[in-house]
Symmetry: C2
Subunit: 221 residues, 2 copies
């Protein structure tokens, strides 16, 4: 892995010059996790900011009743760790590598120093947090007020829109998708079968979905 790879790839450091990136690189720690492993505790304490240098990470939260909820699917370049930024914040979520994943971490105190020194970093982090807040607000509203059918229809059209294609492969297993949408794998199977019967989508082998009628899909209640 080339040096600087990780810090140069993260949007939150985008305004910084080469020397400043070198400084940051010197305080960053590198880690590698095989697919399926848990990024948590171990040699990576909870009070660090994590940067996904390469790979994919699922971020879960555990509910009181033992169920888990998929909160985020982090991609290369994404960061995680609200917990890294403040004291007295108990982390209740945990990450799991979906594929072999490289991660860089910066300790809380180091990162706070950086933010003091380079205000642009804080502002960039604020942007990230703001987007995440908006996303979570929509997700909360959605799971609280809409049917499973509507949530799934919405997820499909949003994913297609993000990928700018009508035919795409679901990036998650049904079980993960279920915990993300606040439902069960069985319900997802059923609803997809329903959409297909209605002619709204076509299911192909390998979790591939083709959208036939995006407009009608969005009208699903």
């Amino acid at each position: 892995m080339a040096e600087h790879e990780c810090v140069r790839l993260v949007p939150i450091f985008s305004e910084l010059g080469s020397e400043q990136l070198d400084t940051i690189e010197s305080i960053v720690r590198h880690h590698h996790y095989p697919a399926g492993s848990t990024l948590f505790g171990a040699d990576d304490p909870l009070d660090s900011l994590m940067i996904v240098a390469n790979g994919q990470v699922k971020v879960y939260q555990l509910a009181a009743n033992g169920r888990e909820q998929l909160l985020y699917l982090l991609q290369t370049g994404d960061i995680d760790g609200e917990a890294a930024l403040f004291e007295n914040q108990r982390r209740t979520s945990f990450g799991e590598a979906l594929v072999p994943t490289d991660v860089c971490s910066i300790r809380r105190s180091d990162f706070q120093d950086l933010m003091q020194k380079y205000p642009s970093i804080s502002i960039n982090v604020l942007n990230v947090f703001g987007k995440r807040l908006s996303q979570l607000e929509r997700q909360t509203t959605s799971t609280a007020t809409e049917s499973v059918e509507a949530r799934l229809a919405n997820y499909i059209t949003e994913t297609a829109a993000a990928l700018k294609t009508d035919t795409f492969k679901l990036p998650l297993k049904k079980k993960d998708l279920a915990t993300f949408l606040g439902t069960t794998p069985e319900s997802i199977s059923r609803k997809l079968a329903l959409f297909e019967r209605q002619g709204l989508i076509t299911q192909k082998p390998g979790k591939v979905i083709e959208i036939n009628d995006a407009d009608q899909l969005l009208l699903t209640e």
Copy 2:
């Protein structure tokens, strides 16, 4: 209303000196809203950071199906406006004054200048956002995976814990509480009656609730 009242009362400006607060005060705009009015559009554009100087504000979001979801209940000193901080962010939520409320607002560009000049502000805002993110993560998980009964029990114990008392008045009408918890007023009535029958709480006139068995309440599934 005394000058400086609003900027001096907000935690995000807590590290600043008196002169700096004067500077900020000069770019702040003051507003007053009677109880029940909507803080939105009108003379207050969407691209401002809002500070609740005095009063209470409900922040709602509208779902695709027309239902509304109560996201936050802002108190004096709280801020709102992720939307204020980035471009290209469509606001989907709206605020409503619960009681007569004073609000100060700072325009996005002004606030961004402030953050560049005084890094402590960004860091304080990050703290606020981080807490809000954590709260929303828990709320999402809760509405997605737990029963109405468990969510209500949890809300009651949390509210009591926050107020450090076992007897307290519900701060919201049942309808608002319902949209906050992702349920209906009828279900809340029923579940409270159930808790009372189980001896876990006692309901008194005026939306006052007394908790008799907090431990058992938390075990509700």
